[in-house]
Structures are given as C-alpha cells and as structure tokens.
Symmetry: C2
DNA sequence: TTTTAATACTAAATCGGTTAACTATAAATA
DNA sequence: TATTTATAGTTAACCGATTTAGTATTAAAA
C-alpha cells in the first residue's frame, strides 16, 4: 500500500535539495564538497526508510541500464545453460542483470531479439550468433555497443570473441579413433556454416585425409527443435552405412540423439561402433559404456566472456583491437572409443 | 552514429504535437478523434524512419516495464532450464521479456534478488521459492504485484501456484518398487522443508508404512552446488547399507549423483539395487539399464505458469481467489526398476 | 442567433532521477 | 580593504515518453 519513496520525498524530509541527495548517493559528496555531517544524516535516513533510487529513471537520464543482453542458441541445452549460469553469477556480482533469450539459430528471430535488446537499452551484448546477422552486429558495434561473441564468431565482424580450438579438437579426436584402429570413421553434425561447425568438420576432414584414410564420411542433419526430426535421418544414416565402425558427433545434442539411435538399433559401443561426442556432460559420463567426449572449458569460457565484456563496459572509449581468445578443449577418453 | 529518434523529432518533422504522435502510436487515435488522414501520415513516417519509442521512458511514465522476473533454483539444472525456455517463448510472444536468476535455494540471495527485481520494476514474478521468504513474497503481493509460484509453494502465502502431485508420485513409485518385490527401499533426497520435498518424503513414507514394510529408510543430503559434496555422503550411505535393494531419488540432480556413485561402486541396476528418480531426462533415458523416472509435465507446468501470470497481469484488479493447479506426473517405467 | 456538441488537435504537467551552471557565505590572499 | 578561493550547497534543465485538461474550429440544435 505504501507508495514508493522518491528522491524528492527524501529531500523534503531532510530539508535538502534533491541534487544534494543525488550527489551523496552517487558517491560524489567529496567532489561536490558536501559536508560529512550532512552525508551522514542523509545516509542514515536513507538506510532507515529503505529508499532505493528508481533505476528506470536513472537509466533514462544516464543512458545506462546495467543490463547485459545474453543470446544463446537454446537455454535448455546444458552447454549453454551452464555458461549462462556462470555468466549470470559474475554479472550480478558486478552489478549487472542479465536479460536472456534463445535464438534457435534463427536469423530473423535473432534480428527481432536484437531489436528488443536495443529497445531495452542493454549496456552490452553477449551472444552465440547465428548466421546472417553480420550486418546487425556491425551496426550495434558502429553505435558503440560492446559486443562479445562466444562459441563461434562472424568472419566479417571485428569484435571480441571467445571460442575453443574446434579444428584441433576434432582433429585430435579423429586421430584418437584412428590410433585405436578404427577404419571407417564418420562425422555427424548439424548442417551449419557457423565457424565452429566449419572448423569441427575441417578438423575431422584434415585428420582423415592427412592420414591417408578413405574419403571422409560426413553426415549433416538440419538443425531442428524436434528430437524426432533429428533422429529419423540419423537412423537412416546408420542403417545405410553398416561398415562404419566409429562416429564422431559434432555437438552434445546430436551426440545424445545419436546414442539414442544406436541404443534403439541395438548397436553397442565400442564393439559395434565407437563413439565420441563434442561437449561433455552427465549423459556421456553415465552412459554404459561411458562416452569419450571433447569437453569444453565452460568456466573459462564464461569467465573470459564476462571479463572481456566488463572491460569494454568500463572503458567504452578504448578502441583497442578486438581480442580473439581461443581456449583448449579436453579430450576425455572413455570406453566408448577404446578398442578391446 | 545516428542518434536515436525521439517522439519530439517525429512530432517536429510532421509539424504535429508529440501528444498526437503518442496517441496514434498507442492506438488511441479513434478515441481521441485524430483524423484518419493524420494517422496514416504519422504511421507511414514512423515506419519509414524506423522510430521506436524509448521503453525506459515509457516504463517510467506508465509504471509498467513489460518484464517478468523469473527465479529458478538453478538455471543449469535441466528441469528448470526447460521450463525457463518454455516460459521465455510464451512471454516473448506476449510482449514480455524475462529477467532471470538462480536462487541456489539461498534465502538471503533470494531476498537480494527480489530487491533487484523490484528495483527493476518487473511487472510480475515467477518463482520456485526457497524457504524463509514468505514475508518478502507477502509484501510483494500486498503491493499488488502478481506472483506465481511453481514447483513448490509457501504454505502461509496466498497466491497462485502450479505444482505436481508430489505425494502421489513418490507413493506410486514406491508402490511400484514394492510390487516388483523389492524389500528394502530407501528414499534419498536433499534436506529441505520445501513443500514439494516434504510431499515427496511423505509419499514414500506413506507407501512404506501403509503396506506394512519395515521402517522407512530416508537419507537426506545437504543441498550443495559442488557435486562431490553430494556424492561423498551418498557413497557412505550406500556402503553402510548393503541390504538396500532399491533407491528412490528425490530429484534429477541427486538421482544423477546417485547413479554416479552406484557406477563407481560397481553396483548394477536393478540386480544389485533398483533405481527410480524424480524428474525424467536424457541421462535416465540413455542409462544402461534405462532408469525408471517420475516425469514432470514441463510443458504443462510452463504453460500454466505463464497463462496464470498473464491473466493476472491483464486483470490486476481481479482479486479472484488464488489458483492452486496440481498436475499429474508420469511414472516412466524402465528396466532399472524391473525385477527379472 | 445563441448555445451546445462534436471534431481535431495541443500545452503543460508528470514519472524520478542526473547534472551543468549558479549562489551565498566564510576564509585566505594581495 | 578589495579580491580571490574554498566551502556547501541549490536551481532548473533534461532524459523521452504518457496523460490531464484545455483550445480552436465547425456543425447541429434550440
């Protein structure tokens, strides 16, 4: 029932101008030569009545919203959820709130969402960008907005990004399978022109070719929300290629679907077909046999993302050249990729 | 570079007052008797220059922010992540943005976060509340804020909530284990006084007692972020109770940790110990043997939550008695709980 | 013809802060 | 003594919208 207090109420109750209150609350008392006596009185009263400045009014005037826009592919994907969680924590500690959304890798949806974020005056953007929004990002940057990309980057866009060494990761995983003696190694992934996906394919391909193996076997599945739409083509692929003895999956989601398909078809890893997936998580650790996975350093990714963004937020003018941070992955070798 | 357009710019360019622009853009042209001619001219120009009203200013004036605060226990938990995802989608469609945060079941953190949300003028709250914040919620409600709880509720607080029939769910699952012939059935869960946890314990206990079984075996683990802090006591418990032939886990997280511990100790389900967990997800579906789980209807939960909240947002005055929606779970019986 | 009503808008206050520019007094310096 | 400097604040404009109360013109009714 009690209406919210405004700065004017505080000012009136103390017989001081609201300017003075504002200066004190913003730590500019010294600079503005407000007496310690008054500062104390104001602080005491503010604490007593529990006054909190209206952040909307503040944002309207200052142009800063203390909000960060976070766009991931899908917040219900464990990889993105973990990163979102870590970013959230660090952001709150630094006085920033997170507004998030899932892009579904949909270019138009993402454009809309950027519009919404813009409209909300977010102070900075963290995103795992889909294809086709180079221009929108470019325009954000041109307008002076701090933008940090992660998981992938946009080749034409000069801004900071944090990602892992995708090429080496799949190269290494493929190499591991070859070392174990597997001969017909397939790579199954989402159809995508995103940098991380291109690199993952290339890493696999390079490994296969540079070791004189038969032509690479690459199966691309269209990105889809509906699990069955992913499993159906996967099922066909596995059935149609009985000679494949190892599969490297390009993401946790497709890896999980792959495991389901293999289970359905009664194929056991690694005897029937060895398995490695990108992104490590509980499903792979707990699977029988446990699944070898390329673990991304989620803490390090989140840490770097938020650190870089906070740097940019604190030093808007700095036109230091964009940082490209590439982190190492960890191939967690488990039974699913070990022969005998 | 181009500075953002304001309503004054539009007004000046068209030689019209900003009041008129505002009326037109807010669909009050008819009501305010603005000529169709002018309406058309304004709309055309606005579309051409791509003017978008500053939502901060709008919010400041109207007191509405078109933002919903979403507080979950932990966004990186698949159960909450899925629900968050579904709520997000529905919210965006209805013109609302989501600000979210993870409470970690920490009362003080949650109080802080409520303060932040309040400060941000969110229009409504969706939360899976921890214990001990009855007063804070009460105060939100008293101030006329729409609050919808889910996953659990607060006994003293009269507001809408959506949850599942926890008591029946664990009763039913326990019954299933007894029907299968298991004799020493334990219930392992997080130590908590939250309603959903109390109900889950009670469901288990009722089943055990009403069927004349030996005293219930209940192991409570302190809630913790760190997985090892959960696994250690679990390990001790399993080792110390070799006669247990079935375990019902109270949440997906503890269920997952439980599976890890059982795997470590070389205990196979269901021959060594049968397993059922609350919350169904990929880990359980893909486990060998697949794990019987109590699946919550996440879509229905999310749908009901957002529907109820939107109702309250659209009809603030309505002091209709709070709704308590209780949804059914689905016991997905898999090998881990089947004898022979 | 005067009054009333309808039409088509506008001026100015307001939301709750921040901030540039200014004032009034006392103390220090020239 | 006159001028400068430091101290301790205040006034009023501003951010960009919404909204109440009002104006000017024309048409209809009395």
């Amino acid at each position: 029932m009690k209406k919210k207090l405004s700065i004017v109420d505080i000012a009136n109750e103390l017989n001081v101008s609201k300017t003075t209150i504002s200066f004190i609350l913003n730590g500019r008392a010294q600079e503005k030569r407000i007496s310690n006596d008054l500062v104390e009185r104001v602080m005491k009263h503010v604490a007593e009545v529990g006054y909190k400045p209206n952040s909307l009014a503040k944002s309207l005037r200052t142009g800063k919203s203390n909000t960060i826009g976070l766009m991931v592919e899908d917040i219900s994907n464990p990889f993105f959820a973990s990163i979102a969680r870590l970013i959230e924590d660090r952001a709150y500690v630094n006085g920033y709130k997170i507004i998030y959304c899932s892009t579904d890798n949909d270019t138009n949806k993402t454009k809309d969402l950027i519009g919404m974020f813009r409209d909300r005056h977010v102070d900075g953007y963290i995103m795992a960008p889909p294809e086709g929004i180079e221009e929108d990002i470019q325009s954000l940057i041109k307008d002076g907005m701090p933008v940090v990309l992660f998981d992938r980057h946009l080749p034409g866009v000069k801004t900071d990004f944090i990602e892992v060494d995708n090429l080496f990761s799949t190269y290494n995983a493929t190499k591991h399978l070859m070392d174990q003696g597997f001969k017909n190694i397939a790579f199954v992934t989402f159809a995508s022109h995103q940098t991380q996906m291109m690199d993952r394919v290339k890493g696999y391909r390079d490994a296969i070719i540079s070791n004189g193996f038969k032509p690479p076997i690459i199966k691309e599945i269209p990105f889809n929300q509906d699990e069955e739409q992913i499993m159906a083509p996967l099922r066909d692929f596995v059935k149609a290629n009985p000679d494949i003895d190892a599969i490297l999956f390009g993401t946790n989601h497709i890896g999980t679907c792959g495991l389901k398909v293999l289970n359905e078809l009664g194929k056991k890893a690694p005897t029937d077909v060895a398995v490695i997936s990108f992104d490590d998580y509980d499903v792979f650790k707990l699977h029988s046999p446990p699944v070898t996975a390329i673990a991304q350093p989620v803490e390090a990714i989140a840490d770097n993302v938020i650190t870089v963004l906070l740097e940019k937020l604190n030093d808007r003018s700095s036109s230091a050249k964009p940082q490209s941070i590439v982190l190492k992955t960890d191939l967690r070798i488990r039974n699913s990729s070990l022969k005998g």
